[in-house]
């Protein structure tokens, strides 16, 4: 299997889905001629022309709203928000419209729309090019939220998202774009939305994570293995719908849980995961449920020492796992 980068997996999925289905089109700021500011849509305009690879005006609410109209009509738009931070002007369209179209029309209309957005920090992006924004949407029924960590999952899940009958928010960690590489089949395949995956088997402590921190957790696990601590790592991959079964199974494996995400702690999705565990796997637990997350500050600062302080890393995670293991 060829080894490709996380961002190439995005491009390949788009390319293949646009070939497969003429209803698929992409739209966003600079996605056409420029191929996206991260180059995720590179090569598409040459292949499919400017109508299907649409450089929109600088208006996120319009990107979402126009895509919603087109999706309700029967197309399969894939909208790009240039940075997840800039999804905010589109919140009304996403929350009030996309998420509610099926429900409010008693199932007679639908909104098969994908919104892709690069999120996350560690790239000197400062406050407004580093945020994790999933918490804004995880409480909004009607949306699906996908946050893959590997090229394989990116490609398979993006394809599933495009083929899904409902609106999917597809968040790509921008630090992973060129950092993370992995094997990806040449043949068409999909990864189902709503299924977590065990990325490492272990017996002492369970780490539940997604995105960049998932890789940090794997690195921490590798390190801790040498110290004799066996870490079980679950990659949520999809936040909504949450794969509760996989979560509960992973908890049962070790009885000790550390939930890790880059998004800030309070009000982050880790709270939901912890709550599910505290309700449904209470008797499996041998220790308090721990969360290790971004700090509760408005966003990640620019200055290197502050950015470093904000970001998680394998060492911070290893430390938290050790504490749990010793519990």
């Amino acid at each position: 299997m060829p080894v490709i980068s996380y961002i190439d997996a995005v491009t390949q999925a788009l390319m293949e889905e646009m070939k497969r289905d003429p209803r698929v089109f992409v739209l966003g700021e600079d996605v056409g001629v420029r191929g996206g500011v991260f180059r995720a849509t590179v090569g598409l305009i040459e292949e499919f022309g400017e109508d299907r690879v649409l450089d929109t005006p600088l208006t996120e609410s319009a990107i979402a709203g126009v895509a919603i109209g087109a999706a309700a009509y029967g197309m399969r738009p894939v909208a790009e928000m240039q940075f997840a931070d800039f999804i905010m002007p589109a919140v009304n369209q996403i929350v009030s419209e996309a998420a509610k179209i099926r429900y409010r029309s008693n199932g007679t209309w639908s909104c098969p729309l994908v919104i892709r957005a690069p999120y996350g920090g560690g790239v000197h992006g400062a406050l407004y090019h580093s945020q994790s924004v999933e918490k804004i949407f995880t409480g909004v029924p009607g949306l699906k939220i996908v946050m893959p960590s590997t090229p394989y999952d990116v490609k398979g899940l993006l394809k599933s998202a495009i083929r899904d009958e409902d609106p999917v928010l597809f968040f790509e960690h921008k630090r992973c774009y060129r950092l993370i590489k992995g094997e990806v089949p040449v043949e068409d395949y999909t990864v189902p939305i709503g299924k977590a995956e065990v990325k490492r088997e272990g017996t002492d402590v369970t780490v539940i994570s997604y995105g960049l921190t998932l890789h940090f957790a794997l690195q921490a696990a590798e390190q801790l293995a040498k110290e004799g601590i066996s870490v079980h790592v679950l990659d949520l991959r999809t936040l909504i719908p949450l794969d509760k079964e996989a979560v509960l199974e992973a908890v049962a494996k070790t009885g000790k849980v550390l939930i890790v995400h880059e998004d800030n702690l309070t009000g982050g999705f880790g709270g939901e995961v912890a709550a599910v565990i505290a309700e449904e796997a209470f008797f499996e637990l041998d220790a308090p449920i721990k969360r290790l997350c971004g700090p509760d500050v408005p966003a990640m600062p620019y200055s290197p020492p502050l950015e470093k302080e904000f970001m998680l890393n394998p060492e911070k995670i290893a430390k938290a796992i050790r504490e749990l293991a010793e519990f």
């Binding site: 208006t59 109209g69 309700a72 009509y73 009304n92 007679t108």
Partner: protein
């Protein structure tokens, strides 16, 4: 009713009579809903009264077989012309299972009907204006020649989404008609506190497409403006903005009391220009409507509304378990 004659617009006597019938039907359904509300039978009404001329005039200028509507909550006249019935309205007002818009999930006035290419709408104003642009863009991708008409109130046209929609449609020269139904109030806030400059239609110049202001109390004038806009759109010449001026004859909704913010005299004055009065007079003068025909029409409509009310009142509610359905496919 000025000089404008329906024949000059290519409308037959039958067609204008039909227009009047729709206007009257909309009015009578609406009036009935207020009665039902005041009798405690339905929790909420939001009214088309005063705007029937705009809605019916506009809808008649569209192709009811292929064009699309992204309407707003007052557009009862429009959705009737496009195919919805009095029964559909009453099922919605009573929040019954059979309501074609939402199975009783949404308030009345939240139209949405696949049968007639009326996109499902919501309460936050102006979101539909962007959806209209999306449907127009989809038509472009699929090489269809449908036109999309979307409407909102003059207050709602100040929302950011409206600007973004006009700009997007302008850049891509899309077949969208932006209709703004200026009824002079946004709940209690009058035009001068709402729309800077006072002229919504002038805003089109900033997007490089035509903007026109028409007398919304004259359905023929609205028809003419929309017809021209449809033709431009169909020829690939892009969007048109139409500001149709009328007046909201009743309170904002059944929850509102408009006496606190506008004088009764103002309302009474506006009633003289009610599109129903004006169009009726026109048809009478033209000999198309007679006292006799009118009686017949009134009777027919009263029956239609009665039957619809009866049917809807007796129709079953959705089951509680329906609450959990249609979250995802």
């Amino acid at each position: 009713m000025s000089e404008l004659k329906h024949t000059a617009l290519g409308l037959s006597d039958e067609q204008v009579l039909d227009m009047y019938r729709y206007m009257l039907l909309a009015r009578k359904i609406d009036e009935r809903m207020w009665l039902l509300n005041r009798a405690g039978k339905i929790p909420f009404v939001i009214s088309c009264q005063g705007q029937e001329g705009i809605q019916v005039g506009a809808a008649f200028a569209l192709d009811r077989e292929k064009d699309w509507l992204c309407p707003y909550y007052r557009d009862l006249g429009m959705v009737l012309v496009f195919g919805q019935s009095a029964k559909d309205q009453m099922l919605s007002a009573f929040a019954k299972k059979e309501d074609p818009n939402s199975g009783g999930r949404q308030m009345p006035g939240h139209y949405g009907d696949r049968r007639f290419r009326i996109l499902t709408g919501s309460s936050p104003v102006t979101t539909q204006v962007l959806h209209a642009v999306g449907i127009a863009y989809a038509g472009k991708l699929e090489k269809k020649d449908h036109v999309v008409l979307t409407s909102c109130g003059e207050g709602s046209s100040n929302q950011g989404d409206w600007h973004e929609a006009c700009n997007f449609a302008g850049v891509h020269n899309l077949p969208v008609i932006f209709m703004v139904e200026n009824n002079k109030y946004a709940i209690s806030v009058p035009l001068n506190k709402q729309v800077a400059g006072g002229d919504v239609s002038k805003r089109a110049q900033g997007y490089g497409f035509p903007g026109v202001k028409v007398d919304g109390n004259n359905p023929l004038e609205v028809y003419k403006a929309v017809k021209e806009a449809v033709e431009r759109a169909r020829r690939g010449e892009g969007p048109t903005l139409i500001e149709a001026v009328s007046y909201r004859l009743v309170p904002h909704s059944s929850d509102d009391d408009d006496r606190s913010y506008r004088a009764r005299e103002e309302v009474e004055e506006a009633k003289k220009n009610d599109s129903l009065v004006i169009f009726r007079n026109y048809l009478m003068e033209a000999g198309i409507l007679t006292e006799e025909k009118e009686q017949e029409l009134n009777k027919q409509i009263a029956r239609e509304v009665d039957e619809a009310t009866d049917y809807a009142e007796k129709a079953p509610y959705p089951d509680p378990e329906e609450t959990y359905k249609h979250v995802y496919a």
